[in-house]
Symmetry: C2
Subunit: 478 residues, 2 copies
């Protein structure tokens, strides 16, 4: 029952055991806690604050493209879930079923939403009547449930927080445009805010969303060389519209089916941030997403004037960044380790000698670099450093991704890379699902995406040698 308070103690090193390192970091940086509900976690203040920042910044980007927020029920009646054949096949095996309301059995069982396509379709079938009602560009922030057997904090849990956008359009072109537009919003957000570079591309038919005509994805590379699917955007064509009878009268007074899309990102992104930027001292947060960007640590804080100076600096800095003072009675070394574990981008150390010299010591979390800065230049320097860290983190992640992206011209090269290296493998593919399945069974690597930026590495499939149709990113994935 006792809580382990020794934040500073050694965590497992990444090299030794990456999975254990990950678990250590999520627990010791106090992002989550396990619960009595198997496969579900508590998002603690430090973890939830990251999600709040993701939400706010992503939501702003959505609204700039005309998205409106709504909220639909968390329950789906079984008959509604079954209306689209592929969709129900994909999701029914992993939903939680409610069978009783209060003391009485329900006439029809209902599931907790694993995703809300069917609810939005039901809603749009009542809302949409004329071409004047289109497009509908709605989004909701909510939690969803998928009854996974094996779970890991942020990466795969039975309940997780996400956003799901659902749109309806008059034409196929407009739906495709929105699908790609949102994929680009996701990719920009990951790169600009999370400092996490991504590969944009299309999923193969085998890997696409249940019920979609096309699924697009952004794929990021983690520190251990595994891929993380970080966001997806689906074009449904008029498949759901036909199943749910969502029709509108066009300007020629003819009945037409709408064309639909959906797109989602989740708390999984926090797992991505940890595994792209973290190091052996814990979390490293990109400044734009860090709940606290600067931690001021007073040195010899009982000496006259030290805490006052720390507070004064905080007041000045708080005009341009998110800053706190750690005035607890822990010793400075412990506070440093805590700030590092929590991934706070900058530490400002200020003690009696610094005050005498009219300066503070600023320490970067990402590089550990120490910089002495005069008090009067501190605000400007901190702002500049936060920008620099953000950019450097993106560049480092991009370099890591590039260094760990390999080209396989033939099957020997492919298996060789998987044995000796980690990362993405770019290779040609014949387009046959049987070949894709064989590759997965033989190596564990899956098709991550058919990137928008195609290259012609060779003209035959890396596995079967038949004529190649697409260049594909392969990789082992979370």
């Amino acid at each position: 029952m006792a809580k382990d308070k020794k934040l500073v103690e050694q965590i497992t090193s990444m090299e030794e055991d990456f999975a254990q390192w990950y678990t250590d970091v999520v627990l010791k940086a106090e992002l989550i806690d396990y619960t009595s509900v198997k496969g579900c976690m508590v998002l603690k203040p430090a973890g939830y604050a990251i999600w709040e920042n993701i939400q706010r910044q992503l939501d702003d980007r959505f609204k700039e493209t005309g998205v409106e927020n709504v909220y639909l029920p968390m329950f789906i009646p079984e008959s509604l879930l079954q209306k689209e054949k592929d969709h129900v096949e994909g999701f029914a095996p992993e939903v939680a079923w409610v069978t009783h309301g209060g003391l009485n059995p329900l006439q029809e069982r209902i599931c907790v939403r694993p995703t809300s396509e069917t609810l939005f379709c039901d809603f749009y079938s009542k809302e949409v009547e004329s071409y004047r009602d289109l497009p509908k560009v709605y989004n909701q922030w909510c939690s969803v449930v998928r009854w996974e057997k094996e779970t890991r904090p942020f990466l795969r849990s039975r309940e997780f927080l996400w956003q799901e956008g659902h749109t309806a359009h008059a034409t196929a072109e407009e739906a495709e445009e929105r699908t790609i537009q949102m994929l680009n919003v996701y990719a920009d957000f990951c790169e600009q805010v999370l400092a996490m570079p991504v590969i944009k591309g299309r999923k193969t038919d085998k890997e696409k969303f249940a019920g979609a005509e096309a699924t697009y994805t952004i794929e990021a590379l983690m520190h251990d060389g595994k891929a993380l699917q970080s966001g997806t955007s689906h074009n449904f064509g008029d498949g759901f519209a036909r199943a749910f009878n969502i029709q509108y009268t066009d300007s020629d007074n003819k009945l037409q089916y709408v064309h639909q899309t959906s797109w989602g990102m989740s708390t999984r992104l926090i797992g991505g941030i940890i595994m792209v930027h973290g190091d052996d001292s814990g979390l490293v947060l990109p400044p734009r997403i860090a709940p606290v960007q600067v931690m001021i640590v007073p040195i010899m804080q009982k000496k006259e004037g030290v805490l006052e100076k720390a507070d004064e600096l905080m007041k000045t800095l708080s005009k341009s960044c998110r800053v706190k003072v750690d005035a607890s009675d822990k010793n400075p070394g412990y506070k440093f380790a805590e700030q590092e574990m929590r991934g706070i981008p900058l530490r400002v150390e200020v003690g009696p000698k610094d005050i005498e010299a009219g300066q503070a010591v600023v320490v970067r979390r990402d590089t550990r670099e120490k910089i002495t800065v005069a008090f009067e230049e501190l605000e400007a320097k901190i702002a500049e450093l936060l920008e620099t860290i953000q950019n450097d983190m993106l560049e480092r992640a991009r370099k890591h991704r590039n260094d760990n992206t390999h080209v396989a011209k033939d099957w020997n090269e492919f298996t060789d890379i998987l044995e000796k290296k980690q990362g993405f493998i770019k290779a040609m593919w014949c387009g046959e699902e049987s070949c894709e399945i064989a590759i997965k069974e033989e190596t564990g690597a899956t098709t991550r995406c058919m990137p928008f930026d195609q290259e012609e590495i060779s003209n035959v499939c890396v596995h079967c040698g038949k004529p190649a149709k697409k260049m594909v990113y392969f990789g082992k994935a979370y």
Copy 2:
């Protein structure tokens, strides 16, 4: 399947049928829609945007008092729900039970949270070890489920959105202080932001929360004279701590139980806004909560320069308020009715003649007053009017509340008021639950609260004539 687009058409008048008026308004102002999931609703963009504003402003007020946000699972295992006897008795009859995960029956059934005391207790029992870990002042924004038989949009639905704060403290005094502090945050928020005056007081034992030592409430009076419980704050003492074994070591190294509180407000507040401020033309939104505060309606918009002027005004006004232009091809009369139905606080009309005269016509939603304002004074005047409307709406609501609060010295007066008038009844009560139950059975009126501001109306109970203990607000309630 066709959606009724005639926003402008007559809605039922409040006098004729208040319940129908309410339903008409929530549907025609496009706040909600019904769904295929019985008792659950869709919050449409206009409804959800009000909730977003409530969330943001309430969350800011929470954070000023040191609240941190977290997220706990939506599921509660049956064994966990049963740990506190009173609590499970209160909630078990109205929860939704999940019995299957995917294709398999669960070993233990789990319910969808109706409220999260038990989950927070389970969490705190692991988190809290020493007095240094206290207080814990956590809150979550989420949806909860209560399997109600009869439902009404916003007021009572099987799923609703809310926030629930849960705190743990070292002492009973600190817990009581936090309970009252949050009740005051709620009351201030309702008055200052929603322009909805409330009575603060304590619930009787019969009406208190399942498992609480004391429940405090804010009660508002609706236009039809019925009360709406708008927010509650509970002091649990150490009851839950004993049931869940949440103990800490104090500074003398002795084990102590924590003292806990919880407090919540929900989308029910939107029902309150509608029923306090609405009129026969629809919704009337207080400016501070209105998603759109000013709607600019161009008159004869096809004439040269009209739309340009409307856009120019929008750009100027958008610096200081939330403003939109309605440039759709509907006629101005329709646009006026729409703006009124949606409760947008101010309308700015601008046409060729106005442009020639260098002025616009501003119309208040609450009073219908028309004011001609020169373009160069528009920004300042709008800001001033929004403030005025906010204050006037609070004053009108306060007057309505006061005019409909009656004193009953004896049982004849009590029943007479209920027959001929509506509203709150202030009366003395003996403190016996049997008397409280008898009053409810005979009249339908319930104890709303024992107000903090006690008055001695007489010295005997209004119903039984025995010595009185408390002055109580009675009323019929939603």
